[in-house]
């Protein structure tokens, strides 16, 4: 479902390392500037490799953890049709996580290492998944807003300079549109339903609006490593540019539903054609990132338990494969 502008968390990753010569770095930058794709075995600066490993693995972790808030509603979906749709969507999120782990592995990091980093809390995932899904309308709001924000961020990643990441994102983007449309349709049905159902939709929008805007990451003035990622064409637009684009397309969609965006300062600037909005509460953002969101502990607890509970399956499958290989030999 999503990656977040979390690239500020790395330390000392912009400087060139001693053994990388200026000529190598210049030749690499020239390839990037010529819009050439970098492939797995090509020479690349160590900082480029590490930035990508961090970003792609965070993105993968977000997909995996992102199954939980919606997975909560699988057994409570209001109809068989909605249940089938939600199952397919949650399965897609697992698939997206796997495409991304596969892309990250081409950079020389093992799947086990990435999983270990997630489980130990060393690696981050998108803060949006630390918010609870309290009603069925939340499933609609997630599809519409969270997947909508993800699409906004992921489309430019399809042109990312690193080939395997770019190809994984193309695959993800093809599947993501269904996610957003099914979410909007849920909202639409609720808004055309009873007063109570519409109130449920409004409540979901109220709770998911600001966290969705935070998905684009810190404001440009605070996002230290954005410039380097832009030079490397890992990133094509700044956090604030993407956030603005998202607001501009989403507000009319809310109006169509007859819902009110929970921001009293929201207004269209006729001159610029863009919506102006209130300042984002960055304290909440950093707080959730630091592990203090409403569901951080629950999400990690569930992931660790699933990993531990599955250990015997992984071992048994491996033992069976080894035994069969030994018999064949």
């Amino acid at each position: 479902m999503y990656t977040q502008g979390l690239d500020q968390s790395g330390k000392g990753e912009t400087g060139a390392r001693g053994e990388e010569t200026a000529a190598q770095l210049d030749a690499f930058q020239a390839r990037i500037d010529a819009e050439e794709k970098i492939e797995a075995k090509d020479w690349m600066p160590e900082a480029y490799r590490r930035t990508l490993i961090r970003q792609i693995s965070q993105h993968a972790h977000s997909e995996i953890i992102g199954m939980q808030p919606e997975g909560n509603w699988l057994t409570r979906a209001p109809s068989l049709k909605r249940k089938a749709i939600l199952l397919a969507k949650v399965q897609d999120e697992a698939g997206h996580g796997l495409y991304l782990y596969s892309a990250a592995e081409t950079l020389g990091v093992s799947r086990d290492q990435m999983v270990a980093d997630l489980l130990s809390g060393k690696a981050k995932y998108s803060s949006i998944f630390n918010y609870p899904t309290l009603s069925w309308a939340d499933v609609g709001a997630i599809g519409w807003l969270v997947d909508g924000a993800a699409i906004m961020n992921q489309i430019p990643l399809c042109r990312c300079s690193y080939g395997p990441y770019s190809r994984a994102m193309i695959r993800v983007c093809k599947e993501e549109s269904f996610h957003q449309r099914q979410g909007y349709e849920i909202m639409l049905m609720l808004c055309r339903g009873t007063e109570e159902q519409k109130a449920m939709a409004q409540d979901a929008l109220n709770r998911f609006w600001w966290p969705s805007l935070m998905m684009f990451g810190p404001s440009d003035t605070d996002s230290k490593h954005s410039a380097q990622s832009m030079r490397w064409k890992i990133k094509r637009f700044s956090n604030d540019e993407l956030r603005q684009k998202f607001i501009d397309v989403t507000v009319p969609q809310a109006e169509f539903l007859g819902l009110t965006v929970p921001d009293e300062n929201l207004r269209l600037n006729e001159e610029t054609g863009h919506y102006e909005h209130s300042e984002i509460d960055w304290r909440e953002f950093y707080d959730v990132l630091a592990g203090n969101g409403p569901c951080n502990r629950q999400r990690m607890g569930k992931r660790r338990k699933a990993h531990d509970d599955g250990a015997w399956v992984r071992e048994a499958a491996r033992a069976y494969a080894e035994k069969r290989a030994a018999v064949a030999a």
Partner: protein
Amino acid sequence: MTDKEWPLYEVFIRSRSGLSHRHAGSVHAADDEMALTNARDTYTRRNEGVSIWVVRSDKIVASDPDEAAAFFEPAKDKVYRHPTFYDIPDEVENL
């Protein structure tokens, strides 16, 4: 028993008959059979394929990108392998 990582397989998919298999990504699996079903579940949830190949990643032999210039060099100076190398008067048709 240790929780050792399952081997990595590369996945190639034929999207429809008439086309060749194309690299899609990779999966981990304990054995070949599981690699096939994992590849199906991961890469063909929307009928993207009619045939799948999986092969252990460590069995693939690949050329070295750092040696690419030298490796592919022998093909570079043989312009006479291309039809445009030959000067044929415009009056001659069907050639």
